[in-house]
Amino acid sequence: MRRSTFTLALIGAAVLALGISSLCPAQDAPLLSGGIGFVTNTTGGNTTYIPVAEPLATVPLGQHLLLESRASLLEFFSPDSSGYNHSHFVALTYLQGDVLASRHLTIVVGSYLLPFGTYNERLTPIWIGNFQDEPLMEPLGLMNGGAGLGGQLRGSLISHPRYSFDYAAWFSARSGNSQFQANRSSGLRGSFYFPDQRLEVGASYGRLLEGKRENFAGAHVWWATKDAGLRFRSEFARGQHAYGYWFEADSRPFASGNLESFAGRFEPVFRMQQTFRIDNAASDGLPSVNTQRADFGFDYNLPHNTRILTSYSRQFSAAGNTNIWETGIVHRFLFPAWKGRL
């Protein structure tokens, strides 16, 4: 999104926050959250340095409305023939309005993260993800961007102490900066969750309604121990030209109350992923050849919402095998956007 649009959105959010702050109940002040970090990526011996900021603003309006937005600001310092060059990237990740229509239905309008699979909605914030890189197969089902522009219906359809079912259905007509024709798409996702077992099983479907009219289908399984000390996440997705999977496991000793010990703050993580090409029509953002990758990470949870992320990855493909080293430090912030009373 162009910088002028981004600036306009930020100003609009600030004015809105000022305007409604006096009307908010004591617990519903607008908030500013997000993460700032500094990460490095060394691929094939070349190191790129990336300062990053991801601010998130959330503004409640009355009892049934919520405005929320997240942006990404990155600067890349990459090696080239003359030394180091730099480039920047600024984008509004999403800007959406949520209408809490009923206990089972929330209507989302605006620009929103596409609810295909789980990674895009849940794990993309830098203060949440265990690895800096998204899975290789992540572009599948995200319609060339990961954000939709239109409407979405979502909510918890069944909520029982032993099981629940949630859903999301969306229609998007996003158009890019350089084209007037909208890139229409639609899809849905449904998930069963069993709280006692900490087990979630779900499926997603998406259809690109323009051009090739490609279909995407996916499934996900998440599981965790009762204290969330061990978490397992996995996704599979298939398009018409490629398919792939990833699974990730992390161990969190601090979930058992070990935050005071040095070793208890370590969080080893492991991810395995593979992508497979069905044909050479590489229009979906996946590698052009079959690729396998194993990621080993050690994260360390410092006090005051700060994490150190480190990982080593070994990638195998017909295009060449590669070592990838990544390090980073990320701080999460969370505070009221407006002085209120309590």
């Binding site: 004591a26 519903d28 909520s159 979930a255 058992s256 194993a294």
Partner: protein, 104 residues
């Protein structure tokens, strides 16, 4: 990648994740309620059940994705919970007990 090599990578990663808890010093205490606001009010007796249920909702839903923040102002507890209701598809009841857990 050959299946044997693939199996080796998976076994190595699994071992890494599985051994980690053994390295940590177990002190047996319950998880610190780090997600709760920095300032808390006294807990009414009749609200203890709702608070316990709110803690369960937090552990069963929020903790699956992210670590608990160290603390936050009680002025934004309602906003956080509403955001989580949309993002995590929480029910209205779960939203209410989670708010009670954050701000008893």
């Amino acid at each position: 990648m050959k299946p044997k090599i693939l199996a080796c990578w998976i076994a190595l990663g699994s071992a890494l994740v599985a051994v980690a808890p053994l390295l940590a010093v177990q002190n047996g205490s319950s998880p610190a309620p780090a997600a709760r606001p920095a300032t808390q009010h006294g807990t009414p007796k009749q609200g203890q059940d709702a608070e316990a249920e709110g803690q369960r909702v937090f552990e069963q839903n929020c903790a699956r994705c992210h670590n608990a923040p160290d603390g936050f102002s009680p002025r934004i507890a309602g906003t956080i919970v509403r955001h989580m209701r949309v993002r995590a598809n929480l029910s209205r009841h779960e939203e209410e007990v989670l708010l009670h857990y954050f701000n008893p």
